[in-house]
Structure formats: C-alpha cells, structure tokens
C-alpha cells in the first residue's frame, strides 16, 4: 500500500516531478556518458601502449629493463618459449624479439633508434608492426638485408623504399658492428614518436648483426581477451614459478608500464569523485523538492497521524516517494546514456582537431566509448543511495508534524 500511495503522491504535482526527474536524468545520463567516454580514452591509451611492443606478458633478463643492452639477453630463448607454450591458454601468441639500441645512417642523416629483430609472421595481432599501414611491404622471415622504418624517420632521412641504410650497434661480444640494409617498407603509426623510435629487421638479420645465434632479449606474449585483466596476475605468477630455473623476470603489462597503471588507478578515483560532485549538485534539488512536497501536505500528514498512522510509516512513505523519483530518473538516464554510448561505441568519436595533443599523451585519435558495468552500477548506486540519505531529512520532518499543530494551519 505504501508503494501505491507513494507512486500516486509523486504525480499529484506532475510539473514539479517532471523538473526534478529531468535534473536526475541529466545527472545520471552525463555520468554514464562521461564515464564511457573517459574509459574509452583510457582503454585506447592502454591498447596503444600494449601494442607498442609491450604485450600482456613479457619475459626478459632481470637487468634488461634498467639497462637494455645485448649483454642482458635471455639465456635460452627456445627452451623458455617451449615452456611458455605449455603454460599459457590456447590462443596466446608468443614471439621472441631482439631489441638493441643502435644508430641508423644514410649519406645525409644519422639518428639513434631502437633496432628490433622480429619474426614478421608472428607479429600479426601482437604488436602494431604486424598490421601497420605501409608503403612497400613488411620484411619476410629470414630476409637477411631487408629493413622497415617509420614514415617520420624516412621523411627526415629523405629516403624511400629500395634505398639503403646502414645500421651500427654494439655486438654480443662488445665490439661495434655495422651492416647495410635495403628499405623494404615504410610504416605509419598513430604516434609519431613510434615512427622515429623503431626500425625493424628480421630475427635472422638481427642475429647476424649481433654476431650471435639465439640472442633474443625478450619474449612477448599476447593473450586472448578474457585473460587480459582480472585473470592476468595468476597467469603471470604461474609463468614466474615455472621459469624460476632460468633466472628471468616475468612481468604483466601493469608492471611493465607503472606510469599507465598509476594513471588508471587515479582515473577510477577521479571518476567516482566526479559522480559524487554531480550528485551533490542535484542533491540540493532533491531535498528542496521533497521538502516542498512535504510542507504543502502538512495538513494531510497531521490528518494521517490523527487517524492513527505511525511516524515510521510516514517516513517510509516519503522515502518511497523519493525512491520512485530517483529510480525513474536513473532508469531513464541509464537507458539513454547506454544507447548513446552504444551508438558512438561503434562509430567512434574523432578527436582529429587535437591530433598533436592526443598523440602527446599516447591516446588514439578516434575514441570508442566503452561501457563498464561497474561504472553504470556505481553511478546509479551513488544517486539512489545518497538520494535516499538526503531525503531522510524531509521525511523525518514530515513524521514530526503533530496533528493539532498542522490541523490548525489552513
């Protein structure tokens, strides 16, 4: 009966109800849109970073990260790869790489780059180079003198597909070695810094350049979607335990990119603070509306009490009214918010106007808003729970009216 009473009560003044519903609607709607948009932005940033030769799990020499030198290569990459294969779920992609710092030069220019020896066939769906847009083509497995460079670097070198480049780097024995390569392709990346940072040669060519067989500096693993977040940590631990005898370090992407994980953690906090801020803005309206609804019905509450209604029932009734307001506003806001997000989740939002700024922060140019159920639940929970909490004030006011006092008022 309370339910019915409360429901009918809120429609006694449709205009007032409509206005406060609009406030709640806009609040919840904006919370969801905002959350989805910034999640999409963060996801894009993480994906870009993982794509950038990081991967979800990486096996390296324990000292390689602080000092990326060929002397810190993996002890027995083939055995480690075989071991990983037996540990990881089907669908995981495992690829060894040789990564060293070096110098690339032609007749005009010289630049410091990172030389990456890859198995081209195995990079597909693992890192950006596997399917980067390219002039010319990607090198092939076993290509002994082919090289692929970034468009920005090629531009600086004023060179093109078919021309020659010389790579110089420190070899496995500590001596400096140089080899000439022919440009097979020029790749483009979303981030200009990437185009300037990496040149790719085949794994075989890298072995020759280093003067050492099997000198992978890292083994990168790309996991199927369902293992990328929550189930990542146990998997990393499992690999770490199994690879113990090799004395290598095994890290998940969150450890590989501490700055980005820290950003993601701060991002969550920021989002929830924003939810509360928007709520406070509409909270004043909710209290005021419910308060008005209570005060103009003083006589009614007095009468109800006079005929024997308990104060606690009155509290329940008033809270019921605000619950309906909150629930209806939230439902409408959530549905519209999700619909809009769903639409843009496929179409994407192009931030082309801020292309340089977007690149600077390592984000994608096109953002695909992503709904996370946790955010939707949090937004609704914040509004409904806090909305009910602030409604206690007018509800208790209503319950305290005494029959005699209120009946005297007109």
């Amino acid at each position: 009966m309370f339910t019915q009473l409360a429901w009918r009560n809120i429609w006694r003044n449709p205009r007032r109800t409509a206005i406060i519903l609009t406030a709640i609607f806009i609040g919840v709607f904006s919370m969801i849109i905002f959350a989805a948009f910034s999640r999409g932005m963060a996801d894009g940033m993480v994906d870009n970073a993982i794509d950038n030769l990081v991967g979800h799990i990486k096996v390296q020499h324990p000292d390689y990260r602080s000092d990326p030198d060929i002397s810190h290569r993996l002890p027995d990459p083939n055995a480690i790869t075989a071991e990983l294969k037996s540990l990881l779920p089907t669908g995981a992609k495992i690829t060894p790489r040789i990564r060293v710092e070096g110098v690339v030069a032609n007749a005009r220019e010289t630049a410091g780059v990172e030389i990456v020896g890859i198995h081209p066939g195995m990079e597909m769906g693992v890192s950006f180079i596997g399917d980067a847009p390219m002039d010319g083509r990607l090198i092939e497995d076993g290509d002994k003198n082919g090289i692929v460079m970034g468009a920005a670097l090629a531009d600086r070198f004023q060179t093109e597909v078919g021309k020659k480049l010389v790579l110089t780097t420190q070899q496995a024995d500590g001596e400096t070695g140089s080899r000439a390569f022919r440009i097979r392709g020029i790749y483009r990346s979303e981030i200009e810094a990437t185009e300037k940072a990496y040149v790719f040669i085949s794994y075989t060519a890298a072995e020759q350049l280093m003067g050492e067989k099997n000198c992978a500096t890292e083994i990168a693993v790309t996991l199927p979607k369902e293992y990328r977040n929550g189930r990542l940590a146990p998997l990393v631990q499992k690999c770490r335990d199994a690879l113990e005898p090799y004395h290598v370090s095994v890290n998940g992407w969150k450890d590989l990119m501490p700055a980005i994980s820290a950003y993601l953690a701060m991002f969550d906090a920021f989002l929830y603070i924003w939810f509360v801020v928007v709520f406070i803005a509409m909270g004043f309206g909710i209290v005021n509306t419910v308060l008005m609804a209570v005060y103009e019905r003083m006589r009614e509450f007095g009468l109800l009490k006079a005929i024997g209604m308990r104060p606690s029932w009155i509290v329940r009734m008033v809270l019921g009214e605000s619950f309906f307001l909150l629930a209806a506003g939230c439902a409408a806001g959530t549905i519209c918010g999700m619909a809009v997000t769903y639409y843009y989740g496929h179409a994407g939002i192009d931030l082309g106007a801020f292309a340089q700024g977007v690149k600077m922060w390592g984000m994608s140019r096109v953002i695909f808003p992503a709904i996370e159920i946790g955010d939707v639940v949090a937004a609704n929970a914040v509004v409904v729970v806090l909305g009910l909490v602030v409604s206690i004030y007018p509800a208790v006011k209503a319950a305290r009216f005494t029959p005699v006092e209120t009946m005297r008022q007109n």
Partner: protein, 407 residues
C-alpha cells in the same frame, strides 16, 4: 515599500528552501573556481616545464630548421640576432645553442646521442639544466672539453663523473669530427627521453669540434611574461635584421603541448556545463514554486494596481538576490580553498610518474586569477537568470480575478 525590500523579505518567507537553493549555487561556483584555478595552474606548470627544459619561449633559427633539423641549417651571425634581441622590449634573457647527433662511446658501450653546445653563462638565465645537476658540476668556461650527461645515459654507458667519453660525428662541412671529453657532471630532468639521450658541452668546444665557424643552430629566448610571447614574436618577425631567419614561439616548437592543453580545457568545459545544467534544473523547482504558490497573492496585488511588470521585476530580484548570495559565498569559499592549495600544492600521487615524463613535478599548485575567479560564477549567474526568467514571465499572463481564486 520599495521593490528591493519586498524581494528581500520574500526570500526569507521560506528560509530553508532559500538557503538550500543558495547552497546549490554556492557549491557549484566554489567547485568551478577551484577546478578552473587547478586547470590553469597545471597548464602553467606544463608550459613552464617545457619552456625551461627545452624550448624557451622563443627561438630564432634558420628557416626550415624546426621542421627538418640539419647540421648545415645555421644562424650564421648569432651576434647580430643577439643585438636585436637585447634591444627588443619584453625579452628577459637569451642564449645561443647548437646541436647535432653523434655516437658516444665509453669503455665498453656505444650509444647514439644528441650533443648540445651551450653557453653556460647565458644558458642559466633561460633554461634550468644548471639547477638539475645531481652529481659533479655544471659546465664552466674554465673547464673546456668537459660535458654533462643525463642520468639514464650515464647508466647505459656505464660511466661516471671524471671518466672519458669518445664522441664521433660529422662536422658542418661534412668531414669527420671526433674528440675525447671528460664527464664533469650528471643531470636529471625527470623526462626520460632527455635523460637518456642528451649530452651538453661548451658552445666554444662545439664550435671548434664541428667546424661551426661561429654559427649556431638557435638563439633561445625567454619573455618576461608568458602572455607577452605573441607580441614579442610579432615584433621580431617584423624586424628587418631577422628577415631570412625563422622566429618560433613555444607553440611552434612543441605543438603537442598547446593541443593537449586545449583538449584538457575542452573536456573540462564540457564537464562544467553538465554540472551547471544539473544545478539549473535542481534550483528551477524553487523558482517555479515561488511563482505558483503565490498565484493568489499576485492576483491580489494586481487587483490593487500593481503592474505585472513590477511583479516580474520583484520576482527576478528575488532570484537574483539568491543567486548573488550563492555566488558570493561560492567565490569566497572557492578563493579561500584555492589559495590554501596554492600554498601547499596538491600531491598527484600515482600520476606523478606519468606527469614527470612531461616535466611536471609531483605537486600541482592551483593558480587563482581574476579569470578563474569570475568565469565559472559568471556562467552560473547567466544560466540561473535564464532559469528564473521562465517562471517569472508567466506572471503577466495572469488574470487578477482568476488568480485570486487559485488556492
């Protein structure tokens, strides 16, 4: 009774309701004052960091050098440029620089790096590397053939203060340039890219080593005020003495910086608009009720000869009183909060590492200015006025006889 008094008293007929409305407005303006100050504070530290660490406010370079830095694109007579800069009002300090890519080898490591020739005397006034020395000492004209290197580079070359470094590159005329220098100091900017790949040496050493013949690659200058940069740039561009050279400001030198500031500002403004709209709807009920519950009263007043115009005026005064008090409260509290944090700074916790990559320290200091104090409250004021206008404009449509019958 005059209208102001009438409006004022009307507000206090519903103390609780009026206070809640004012608090909603006050809360929103407090938040906007603080957030805008915070945003502008962080932009300023971003620009400052980038300006102080690498680009300066302005640079004079050979045309085309910024797009494609090449050894041969030089400013041939830096003395002439410096003369012009020293008599340009608004310029605070300037220094000459050259840079090129070389191979640097320590005993057992070789890396490709960027070597920069700087003048330590004038460099100090423009860029902040001198204050970031962690070990050893900054460059000095009394110690030729000495360099300072970044921390990460030092680690990668396995080299420390006092050790030797072999530099191999190409000089301006295309011949090979090679020398052995001593590491005099190690600096840490916090920006990995810089710390990993930069070596600085005396400009005079650079000149001799790379056969620069007195030419440099850039004259880096700072302006007295960030806001004057545009003006100074224009003045320099119009100077006949610089007509063959390119005058660039920090936006040209790091275009990503300005756009990321714009991106952040736009997303901030969207958030604020959402907040203001929510607040507007949340206070609309108060304004609306103030009209509807007093229909009878308006009928009576019109019947005794009050013009509808005057009633609308009183109604708007009421809502503007409330808005005004709310805004005033919000601005005062917002300014107080901002000033407090401007003193102690806001620690950025986990994001500090990420920001260090862009040269921002671990704390952000919000910066209160007239703009950040007034923009937010002004927007709220306009929106609440529009919100109040809707119900108030219904008054002229009332017919005294019908209105008096209303409950």
């Amino acid at each position: 009774m005059n209208d102001l008094k009438l409006a004022w008293r009307n507000i206090w007929r519903h103390t609780r309701r009026s206070i809640l409305t004012m608090m909603a407005i006050g809360f929103a303006s407090l938040l906007l004052v603080f957030m805008l100050s915070f945003q502008f504070g962080s932009y300023e530290s971003m620009i400052d960091a980038s300006v102080k660490l690498s680009t300066g406010h302005l640079q004079v370079q050979a045309a085309g050098y910024n797009e494609k830095p090449e050894m041969r694109k030089v400013v041939p007579n830096p003395g002439v440029v410096m003369d012009i800069l020293s008599r340009t009002p608004g310029i605070e300090a300037f220094t000459a620089r050259s840079q090129t890519f070389v191979l640097a080898s320590s005993e057992d490591r070789t890396r490709g790096i960027m070597v920069m020739g700087v003048n330590p005397e004038t460099e100090k006034g423009v860029l902040s590397i001198a204050t970031l020395i962690r070990e050893g000492e900054y460059l000095s004209p009394r110690a030729p053939n000495t360099v300072i290197i970044g921390t990460l580079l030092a680690r990668r070359l396995k080299i420390g203060v006092g050790r030797e470094l072999t530099i191999l590159g190409q000089s301006r005329n295309g011949s090979i340039a090679a020398t052995v220098v001593t590491v005099g100091g190690i600096f840490k900017t916090g920006i990995d890219e810089v710390d990993r790949s930069t070596v600085q040496m005396l400009l005079s050493d650079f000149d001799a080593l790379f056969a620069m013949d007195g030419a440099v690659h850039a004259i880096v200058a700072t302006a007295r005020e960030l806001l004057q940069v545009g003006e100074v740039k224009k003045a320099l561009q119009n100077d006949p003495g610089l007509k063959d050279l390119a005058v660039l400001d920090w936006v040209d030198l790091s275009p990503g910086l300005k756009q990321s500031i714009q991106l952040d500002l736009v997303s901030g403004i969207i958030m604020y608009l959402i907040l203001i709209i929510v607040v507007a709807f949340s206070i609309m009920n108060t304004f609306l009720m103030a009209v509807f519950e007093r229909t009878r009263e308006f009928g009576v007043m019109m019947a005794i000869g009050t013009t509808p115009r005057r009633l609308v005026k009183v109604m708007l005064m009421e809502s503007m009183f409330m808005t005004g008090m709310g805004l005033l409260f919000g601005m005062l509290a917002g300014a107080a909060l901002t000033q407090y944090f401007a003193q102690v700074g806001i620690p950025m916790g986990g994001a500090a590492d990420l920001m260090a990559q862009y040269g921002i320290s671990g704390r952000i200091f919000p910066r209160l200015s007239w703009a950040t104090l007034l923009i937010g409250p002004a927007m709220i004021g306009v929106v609440t006025f529009l919100t109040a206008l809707v119900p108030a404009l219904r008054i002229p449509g009332l017919k005294p006889a019908d209105a008096m019958k209303a409950v």
